[in-house]
Amino acid sequence: MRLTRRQALGLSAGAIAFAATGLRAVPASASPEDAQKRIMDFTGGKTPESGKITLNAPEIAENGNTVPVSFEVESAMGGDDLVDSVMIVAEANPSPAVATFHFTELSGAAAATTRMRLAKTQNVIAVAKMKDGSVYMDKKEVKVTIGGCGG
């Protein structure tokens, strides 16, 4: 079968389109919407207010593989004033979840430090869920020089 010029052009156009979709199929980074959805799942649909929780992360992280992150929630950690859990999400990581911390009265204070990976410059969000159901959040932008999620 001989290809006419028109068919040949059509074929190559298809091939280009295919290659383009192939590229797009590579896991892209999650969008802030994904992170937002995760937060909503965590809070049970409540929009978190700002305050009570303080998130600490460096302004500039040279190496995205180990970015120190810590948080602290104002709470007496006793009686009704108890923090149930704290979730950390990174908006532009391939998967936004970073970690979820669960506290009890024996925790003494609702604070923790860990190290996380960041793929690129992005917002890091910490959401605290109190025992009484109220939710609070804090947000920090971290500039990342070298991404930390491999490639």
Binding site: S95, H102, L106, S107, G108, A112, R115, R117, G150
Partner: protein
């Protein structure tokens, strides 16, 4: 990979009602599942997905880890101690292995 080795730092003594700081570190690659090997094949995810700390059998602190936690996961957190006893730390791997460590504390 060598078996993950937990390292824990807990004060040896405290006064009743004190809030102490605990630091833990465990050697683990925390393979995120996002990386690819030389042939372009994805390296399967293998991380520690849960960390718990108990004091005399009561839960103190717990964390669900996601692949965004760095290799050799480090945690620093607090605990309130009212009596002498032992802290038990456990790390649960994706493959089901459990690594644990214990530290005693004396309350005066």
């Amino acid at each position: 990979m060598a078996a993950p080795k937990p390292r824990v730092k807990v004060p040896k003594t405290a006064s009743a009602g004190d809030i102490i700081t605990i630091k833990t570190l465990i050697s683990h690659t925390m393979e995120s599942g996002q990386r690819k090997d030389k042939d372009g094949k994805p390296i399967p995810r293998k991380i520690i997905n849960k960390f718990t700390c108990e004091f005399n059998g009561q839960k103190v602190f717990e964390c669900d880890l996601d692949p965004a936690i760095s290799a050799n996961p480090f945690f620093e957190f607090n605990a309130k101690v009212n009596e002498s006893g032992a802290f038990k730390f456990t790390w649960v791997d994706d493959d089901g292995s459990v690594y644990s460590s214990e530290s005693k504390i004396e309350v005066k």
